[in-house]
Symmetry: C2
Subunit: 432 residues, 2 copies
Amino acid sequence: MTLAIADTKLDLRLLKIDLLAIGQEARKAARALALAPTEQKNAALFAAAAALRARTDDILRTNAEDRDAARASGRPESFIDRLTLTPARVEAMAKGLEDVAALADPVGETIAAWERPNGLKISRVRVPLGVIGMIYESRPNVTADAGALALKAGNAVILRGGSETIASNRAIHACLAEGLRAAGLPETAIQLIGTTDRAAVGLLLEGLDGAVDVIVPRGGKSLVERVQKEARVPVFAHLEGICHVYVDKAADAEKARAIVLNAKLRRTGVCGSAETLLVDEAAADRLLAPLVIALLDAGCEVRGDAATCAVDARVVPATEQDWATEYLDAIISAKVVPGVAGAIAHIERYGSHHTDSIVTEDAATAETFLAEVDSAIVLHNASTQFADGGEFGMGAEIGIATGRFHARGPVGVEQLTTFKYVVRGDGQTRPV
Amino acid sequence: MTLAIADTKLDLRLLKIDLLAIGQEARKAARALALAPTEQKNAALFAAAAALRARTDDILRTNAEDRDAARASGRPESFIDRLTLTPARVEAMAKGLEDVAALADPVGETIAAWERPNGLKISRVRVPLGVIGMIYESRPNVTADAGALALKAGNAVILRGGSETIASNRAIHACLAEGLRAAGLPETAIQLIGTTDRAAVGLLLEGLDGAVDVIVPRGGKSLVERVQKEARVPVFAHLEGICHVYVDKAADAEKARAIVLNAKLRRTGVCGSAETLLVDEAAADRLLAPLVIALLDAGCEVRGDAATCAVDARVVPATEQDWATEYLDAIISAKVVPGVAGAIAHIERYGSHHTDSIVTEDAATAETFLAEVDSAIVLHNASTQFADGGEFGMGAEIGIATGRFHARGPVGVEQLTTFKYVVRGDGQTRPV
């Protein structure tokens, strides 16, 4: 027993030494990446895409091993599906790398520039964030996506994928390393933590002695919760997307129907999916029943307040817990509220500051909602499912953040940069 | 003994209840502040300035009590000076409030706007950060400065000043509260923690159950160190300003002299003061001796490498520790380096990523320095003492940040805001 404990401590110490070395390599690579010209970063992305295509058979064979192991350990089919690669999925990864290469390089961009009365020329210039720690679960394509976005924004990245896809992640990572090598960039710009030891996540969250600038978690609520609780460095994440659609008395009924159905049902497992429908009491007679019946007829479970239950026998009574639940499924909670003020009060109480939408033809009411709802994304007459970097025109995204700092909403290449002030003078000194 | 422990625990529990209530009030006030029009916020600032002027005698009397107590407890004169208010200092505070009123209101500003092919109109709009926790030491004017900046940017603020100035802070805070009341804004928008219990700082750093969005410490290194170590919420701060001036072989000797003297000696106690002089070995013969002698003659102690020691008998040999020391005094370390690459390597190794300057007439060398030095502020041919929100044209600042997130460099009203995405549509739904 005593020996076993000693061994565990020794293992942890050795793991820590390994990870600190990874952190130091990442920090060194980040210096090189920060100064790398756009063409060189793009060359690495194109070469990595070519490597992914050339090694598709290898990658699929490796992925089949991961899949067999996951099946043998009794993982459910939905889990197996998430980790499964197909020729089409590998091609999508390769294409994704090329798409990131096609994005504008944010590094070096002058965000603002002004001149002072004393002749000093001040500019704010975009620079990379530094080293990104990426912690994700079962989808192996995150290895390629996150590596590419970090690289394009001039950052080094340390990847820590789920243990069930470790072999697939290694095979994909080898292609990224080949791309970096081909372009003459340090391979350590994209490192994959090779061990499945769960203690590695804890060490990464501590920041590896200052080597990690930001953590981006990508996975279920329990992962994000752990990361937000334990991380000693900034985190770009959202814990939940409890998104609302509020249908105002001045709503166009047809727009409301289309938006509510799309917001809830286009995909139910994404963070921008609506979880609660709020209907203005002043027009509940006209709007509530058609919306609820359309949802029910589309196969969605509706959990409602008394007014909603009265619409149709298929509606289930909602409990207090329902208003605070992200179903990630074909289930919606529904409630009648006293106008836009009631909707705002409900959203502030139960929402997660992610994405919320109002449907109305009344411009003033829309502006009240847009101004007063304190969420990363607020929409007027549009589906909450637009909460996505691609749909925002930012290209690929590494995630969506609901924090109030730095990155808020979709996190694309631009959000993976910071800035510095560059001041050009001609001998100016500061008066006393 | 047992009883004493029980009492301490009870006290801590009561303190926690008090502080959580302060946090909840701040959160409520922040909702109101976020929506307050510019004129109302400015009215509060003007009314507070008037109150400061009207109550100057009271404030000075109270401050004298703080001062007597500090003297009685054996505090040094430099400390007493920092906490001392005079009629001129009170007037400067009042004027400071009016200056903040004159700044542009950042809230509601559209930072960027674009339209998507599907007709969605996306804009990024500035919104307040929320609730700011301000922890500061002996200067009572921070009470007014921080309160005003937070208010102007639409935030609520919880102030925790040094225990030695608690009476002065209370008197100043009463004027701010009077201003808020006169303008019809919630007095709880600016709250002062009334207890001198040090445990209050710890509770504030934990974030008061999510009520605090950011902590801004203002004080010595040990305070900032504690805050950075213990805070469970984001922090806007810099730990040290180890700022460098690099004099390149292509430097104009007269500019170099003026900049070095100003960067070191204009004020030695500010974070933008230079701590290390680096001179290009290719022109050390021409540049080193005049710079070192000018510093010595101006009363500055110089701690140098061998080459610098050879210049003048008054130069003290530098130790390894000197390169990593923020003197905040009339002391400078000095060293000959192999060109701009050597300067960059030295700064990356020993610097604090705050503010660094190059003096050269060679534009290409300047651009290399500006691009490769990874600091919040990099300057060409200008004094490091320009590291200041006022000198940047931002108006007042609440501090200077060296973190890579959100606020970097001077933290003014604009940096006390975040943004949200406002999306305006006409019924758009997202295709599968």
